[in-house]
Symmetry: C2
Subunit: 210 residues, 2 copies
Amino acid sequence: MDEPARPQKRNAIRAQNEALILQAAEKVFAEAGFGGATMQLIADMAGLPKANLHYYFATKEDLYRRVVQNIFEIWLHAADCFDNAPGPVEAIGAYVDAKMEISRRHPNGSKVWASEVMHGAPVIQDYLETTLRDWTAGRAALIQNWIDEGRMDAVNPDHLLYMLWATTQHYADFGHQIETLNGGAPLSDAQWLAAKDSVKRILLKGIGAV
Amino acid sequence: MDEPARPQKRNAIRAQNEALILQAAEKVFAEAGFGGATMQLIADMAGLPKANLHYYFATKEDLYRRVVQNIFEIWLHAADCFDNAPGPVEAIGAYVDAKMEISRRHPNGSKVWASEVMHGAPVIQDYLETTLRDWTAGRAALIQNWIDEGRMDAVNPDHLLYMLWATTQHYADFGHQIETLNGGAPLSDAQWLAAKDSVKRILLKGIGAV
DNA sequence: TCTTTTCCTGACCGTATGGTCAATGTGAAG
DNA sequence: CTTCACATTGACCATACGGTCAGGAAAAGA
């Protein structure tokens, strides 16, 4: 194709390389953890010299922080369906679907997040205390409204949210275990559908949503 | 107390030091991951010189393997209540109680296990393929029996087990996140009880267990 | 074309890590 | 007391890691 000296080739190169590095970093951080990951490994996976990584990201921690923030954005965005629903069945059903889809398409991101939280959230503690806390309080209030309206059982909203997170993210974080128990093969399309249906059915019936 | 030249003081010393090291190692591996953990850190936490660790455990990987195996044993043992129960309500109720208690008392072990599985189970893959696979198949058959006897809904046994693992272990693996959302304080006795009840109530009702 | 800014990278550095070892201490057996 | 296996540890080593930098290539502006 023709590439007639684009006016903003610089910006394109930067954007492309940053995306390339972030993608490789997410995979390496997920597979090896922050401590086990090396800049050399990420560089090799991205097909770039190690020094080039430090040109775009000053330190390993900066790169890691960007990866974690990206995941957080995706998850927050996935919760939109929670708000635009008329009731608990639609909201929770759509939320489970969205989060299961993320677990399937973004397993590495989920693992990096899990690892970060398990290690005490050294780099995203402020996000937990602000954005996530606000988000959680908002959804808990929403759930409480549904309870007050008699549209579902009087369950503890916080623990319900934890169950939603736990069950959906488990398919990403423990995907290797599930795959092993599945005879070594990744879940098929049908099996993913069955997983989604199982989770939705048990949870929705469990909270008495009508 | 009197210590009149015990006949097996040697064995006692070995047992005590190994336990001390394993305990410190579990904590450090949980907080920093395998790659982030250092033998020096473990040694400091155990109050021993680093070289002494290598006297009892040849390599970092050996020490790590022992930690993971210990956790696996505890979890397998916790599943006994699953078998000695007359029906799904008692079995699953007792299993949730047992696993929640482990999450509370052994959060570091749970984190190490989660980390190991997330990174592709490099050191316990054989356990997954043998012991865990057998265990899972056995419980899935048990659940299927209950379904056939009409004692619970026809849910997919595998996905039900995944939900049990996910919801209970979440309280250990994501304990820091839960604590942050709880205003920075660990869950109180009452809150742990509420968590257990929430999980049991939603799951048991969700599978239509009577 | 010339200049400036951005991009790229091989070579290098200080440090921290996992692991070793020789020397020494310490219970127990004869 | 002597002997011997077990236990302890400071000092040491090779390696690998995160990060730096000088100098060159390539794009954008003049």
